[in-house]
Each structure stands twice: as structure tokens, then as C-alpha cells.
């Protein structure tokens, strides 16, 4: 294991943490606001990835245009999903929520498999996937990972601003503080939840856009994304978006080091690091609840 190779991997791992933070940002909102874990979260990211694939491959749209088309679809999709499905089981006990989101996960995975087949896919980024910026010391930073990391920072910053400077954000924070009080004074919590879920849809779309260029994906890729997002959220501390970024970085670095030992250790390393940190500090690094 040579030092330059290891250093490269760690830098890569940090940047990939940005991708995991993108995955996790949506989950963090639904966990922090609506207080539920959407088990289909990863599958929805994969669903949008396939949507982008269909737009770019079949309709031959350039990727940026495809993303622009997919963003409003993702917002509306999240809104409708919350308003007409999840809202009906919120507050009725965890069994129902877990079962509905789990059932949705299975439906999405199999729908994708039935429609697109089981092959792994990737969207071409026109060379950006392999471009690197050389740094002193023989370390190279991949352009795409760097973009992803910067996008994560921008997104988290934007979400932060949305939550703390806009009226919509105040409403979202109000219902996540005390949904009964919100209803009592005249806020419509179903509508606010739906908007929050729409925002989650936007983060899902952005995550999908980057993931589909950087990583291979297939209809069964959802669960791994969910588990990664979940671990990043828990590590960071429930309710903390910046904590989620840190959680993602920890996982990215753990996986990078694991991969250095042996490729088959990559996923396992991430999970083990999660378990160890969780046992030591179950409330996460920056808990708000």
C-alpha cells in the first residue's frame, strides 16, 4: 500500500462523501421534518436515474437539458407521493409507514427491472468522468468528484438558506417543531409536508444526475444507496444537514480505505465504521434532536 495511492484514495473518498451527502440530504429532510424514513429513497434515486437515461438515450437530450426536464418532474412526484400516499399513513404507527415505503421500494425496483432489464447502466458525461486535476505530490483530484463535492456544499447551503430565510422554510421548521400546534394555528401540515417532499424530490434528482454519470447503476442499486444515506444521516446527527455531509465523508473515506485493502472490503468497511461509531455515539456527531 503506497502512500501516494492511499492519499489519492482518501481524497477521492472525501469527495465521494459529497455524493453520499447528496443522497442523504433528501433523507435528512424527510427524517427531520416528517419524522419518517423513506425506505424507497434509494430506489427513487435510481428511478430518476433511469428517467435521465431514458431522456438522454431515447430522446437524445443532452444531459443538462435532461436534468432540467427531470427537476420539476421530481418535485411534483415527491409532492404527490407525500400528499396522496405517505400522508395517509403518517402518524398511524411505524408499522404502516415501514410497510408502505418498503412496498413502494419493491414495486419501483421490479418496475425498473421489468421495463429496462437488469443490466447495469451508466450515463456518459462526455469525458468528465476521467478528467483529473493534478496536484503536487502526485495526487490527482477527479474533476467529477470535485464537482459533486462542490454541488453537495452548494445544495446544503441552499437548503439551509431555504429553511432559515424563506417563509416556506419557516413553515417547514414550524411543522417539524410541533405539527399539532401548526395545525391548530392554521398551517396546513399536509400541504407543507408535501412541499418538503417536493424539495426532497429535487435533491433526489440532483443526486441521480451525479450518480448516474459517476457510478454504475441497475434496478437493484436502490437499497445500497438507502443504507449509505441512512448511515450518513445517523452519523451526522438527526436533523443536521452539515452533519450529514460529514457523515458522508466518513463513509467515503472508510470505503476508500477498505477498497485499498481489497475491493471486496469496500462496502463492508463502510458499514463496520458506521456500526462502531454508532455504538460509541448513537446520537450522531451534531444531533439536534
Amino acid at each position: 500500500m503506497n502512500t501516494v495511492g492511499l492519499a489519492n484514495q482518501i481524497v477521492q473518498g472525501i469527495l465521494i462523501g459529497g455524493l453520499y451527502a447528496l443522497f442523504a440530504s433528501g433523507l435528512s429532510i424527510s427524517v427531520g421534518v416528517m419524522r419518517f424514513v423513506n425506505i424507497a429513497h434509494g430506489d427513487l434515486i435510481v428511478l430518476v436515474s433511469f428517467l435521465l437515461l431514458a431522456l438522454t438515450a431515447s430522446l437524445h437530450l443532452p444531459l443538462p437539458l435532461a436534468i432540467a426536464v427531470a427537476l420539476p418532474i421530481a418535485f411534483v412526484g415527491g409532492y404527490l407521493l407525500q400528499r396522496y400516499l405517505f400522508q395517509r399513513v403518517l402518524g398511524k404507527g411505524i408499522l404502516q409507514i415501514v410497510l408502505v415505503t418498503f412496498g413502494l421500494s419493491i414495486i419501483v425496483e421490479n418496475f425498473l427491472q421489468g421495463t429496462f432489464g437488469a443490466d447495469t447502466q451508466r450515463i456518459s458525461g462526455g469525458g468528465i468522468e476521467t478528467a483529473t486535476i493534478p496536484l503536487p505530490g502526485g495526487i490527482g483530484i477527479g474533476v467529477l468528484p470535485l464537482m459533486i463535492f462542490l454541488a453537495a456544499i452548494v445544495l446544503i447551503f441552499a437548503l439551509d438558506r431555504l429553511l432559515y430565510t424563506t417563509q416556506v422554510g419557516a413553515h417547514i421548521r414550524a411543522v417539524s417543531d410541533d405539527v399539532d400546534a401548526a395545525n391548530l394555528v392554521g398551517l396546513s401540515s399536509p400541504r407543507i409536508y408535501a412541499i418538503a417532499m417536493g424539495i426532497v424530490g429535487v435533491t433526489v434528482c440532483i443526486s441521480a444526475a451525479f450518480m448516474s454519470v459517476w457510478q454504475n447503476f441497475d434496478p437493484t442499486s436502490g437499497p445500497d444507496r438507502l443504507l449509505t444515506a441512512f448511515e450518513a444521516v445517523v452519523l451526522g446527527g438527526l436533523g443536521s444537514l452539515w452533519g450529514t455531509l460529514l457523515g458522508g465523508i466518513i463513509l467515503g473515506v472508510a470505503q476508500a480505505i477498505g477498497a485499498q485493502i481489497d475491493v471486496s472490503w469496500q462496502l463492508l468497511a463502510g458499514h463496520l465504521v458506521f456500526l462502531v461509531i454508532f455504538l460509541i455515539r448513537p446520537q450522531g456527531l451534531f444531533p439536534r434532536y
Binding site: 427524517v31 419518517f36 424514513v37 425506505i39 400516499l85 395517509r88 399513513v89 398511524k92 411505524i94 408499522l95 404502516q96 409507514i97 415501514v98 410497510l99 408502505v100 415505503t101 418498503f102 412496498g103 413502494l104 419493491i106 414495486i107 425496483e109 421490479n110 418496475f111 427491472q113 421489468g114 437499497p223 438507502l226 443504507l227 441512512f230 448511515e231 445517523v234 471486496s264 462496502l267 463492508l268 458499514h271 463496520l272 458506521f274 456500526l275 454508532f278 455504538l279 448513537p282
Partner: protein
Amino acid sequence: MRSPRPTPRSVLIGRGILLIGAILLLAAPWITDANGLQIAADLLTMFVLAVMWNLLAGYADIVSIGQQAFVGIGAYAFYGFGVLGGVNPFVAILLAALTTLVAAIPSMAIVFRLRAAYLSVGTWVLAEVCMLGAGKLEAFGAGLGSSLPVSFAEYFGDTPAARSISAYWLALGLAIVAFVTTYLLMRSPTGIGLTAMRDDEEATATAGVNVLRARIICFLWTAPFLGLAGALITLQQLRVAPDLSFSLVDWTVYVIFIVVIGGVGSFEGPIIGTVVFFFIREYLQSWGVWHFIVLGIVSIGVILIEPRGLWGLLRRVIPEDLIPVSHRPPRSSDALP
């Protein structure tokens, strides 16, 4: 006022059907062929998984989507002790149960520190770790797994037909033991406390029922049974492999569908669910992935419309439980039943 009401006719009919089913199961080796016995053994194993998942999710408020971890641990332990260790195969089966129970204890450190839906995903993380870990074990064939040697399998019967009869008796035995003992658990003070908690959490807390202890007992209770199921599955499938022994789809997804459609939180539910599952699998299997979509949609529909499943629907016309787990007070009480 103390004389019991005559049991309603629908309840008697329901119990009669259950009794007939039980007799058929006992007579199966003489009624059907090796193929039928294999299907039956498979269903009985699924039934055991369903009873356990139902116990956790329907009574102990632990919605697990990681029980495939224990199934896999049981499978690998059975292979490890029996094939690699050369232990007597029947003893190996029991050791599989013991190993799974031992493995369950540290996992509680993770599971019981997470609440609600985070708990569910947490169980999934643990299961993933177990599956990935199993894939690293060279002695077990690493990622591809390995088959049961014929010499080992022959211990259960010289011919494939004889083996399927043995496998069937083992599965039936496990199903009966699992069902009866879990039923008795729910009729014990622990179980009554949990059922009462499910129906009225505040009252139970004030009555001093130790809910956490009851949930821990349930969690540990399921481990050996899941491990035994894992051992029997290995015997039925004649191999261990990470994606088989730790399969999310086979040992959790299908199980959840069975219990949800049949009826969570009742003892009739897993029975109905397993029967329905049999028919769905027979007739929808040819649809490929679309049968999952149907199962998923039906499950979500059930949850939204009648969360207590098919049994919940039947219960609207049948006035009593066929397999009562109601909160009758313990016999020492003077209260009216």
C-alpha cells in the same frame, strides 16, 4: 353471568378448518409425492418465518427488515458445525439455533438503540454486514457458497425421496413447535403485557409493565427459531451461499407480504397469509418481476384499507378469534372473563 357464551358457529367452522388442515399436514407423507412434500416443507418453513416476523412487528413493535441475518447465521452455523466440524447433523441443527441466539445478543446493542423506522433500517444494515461478512469466509465457499456434500445429506435419508420425507418432518416439527410455543408466550404475562401495550400504551406504562424487557424477550425468542429455519432451508436447498442464505427477498420480503396480507398482529394472519402466498406463487410466478409489483401493490392496498389484513376482513364477520390471544386476566384474578 359467569357461564360462557356458546361459541358462535362461524368460529366453530373456522376452528374446524384449522383442525382439518392440521390433520392433512400430519398425513402429508402418505398423501402426496416427494415434489409435493418439498413444496409443503418450503411453505412450513416460510410459515415459521412469518410467525416470528409477526411476533416482532405485530406484538413487540419491532419492525425488522433484517431477519434474513438470523436465517443466514443459522444456515452457516449448521454447515459449519455439521459439514466442516463433522458434528452429528441433528446436533448441528440444534447448534445452529444456539449460535443464532448467541449472535442476537450483541445485535441488540444496535437494534434497541434505534427508534421506529430507524430501527428497521438498522436491522437491514446488520443483515447486510452479515451477508458481506459471510461472503468473505473461504471455508464456506466465499461469495459463491458451497453445496452440502452428499454424504452429509445421506444422513437424512438414502434416497432423495427419503430425504424429502425427513426434511418434511423436520419442517413440520419446527412449525408446530414454533407456533405452539410462541402462542404460549403470548398467553404468558410477557405476552399479555405486550398485547395490552399495543392496544393502550399509556395504561400499560402506568400499570408498570416492563415493555422493554418484553420486547427484548421477543427479539431473543425469534433468533433460535430463525436459525433453525436457516438450517432446514440449507437442508432443503442443499447449499449455503451469501445471496441464498441471507436473501432479503426470500426470507424477509416474501415473509412481510405473507404476514401483512394475512393479517399482522394475530395468529390466524400468518396461517392465512402462507396459504395465500402458496397460491400467489403458484399462479403468478410466471409473471416474473411483475408478480412482485402485484404483491407490493396488494400489500400497500391492504395497509391502507384494512391494516389487519385478510384476517381483519374476516374478523368483521367472525365475532371471535379462532386462536384467541385476547387479554384475559391470569387465572388468579377474580375479574369476570
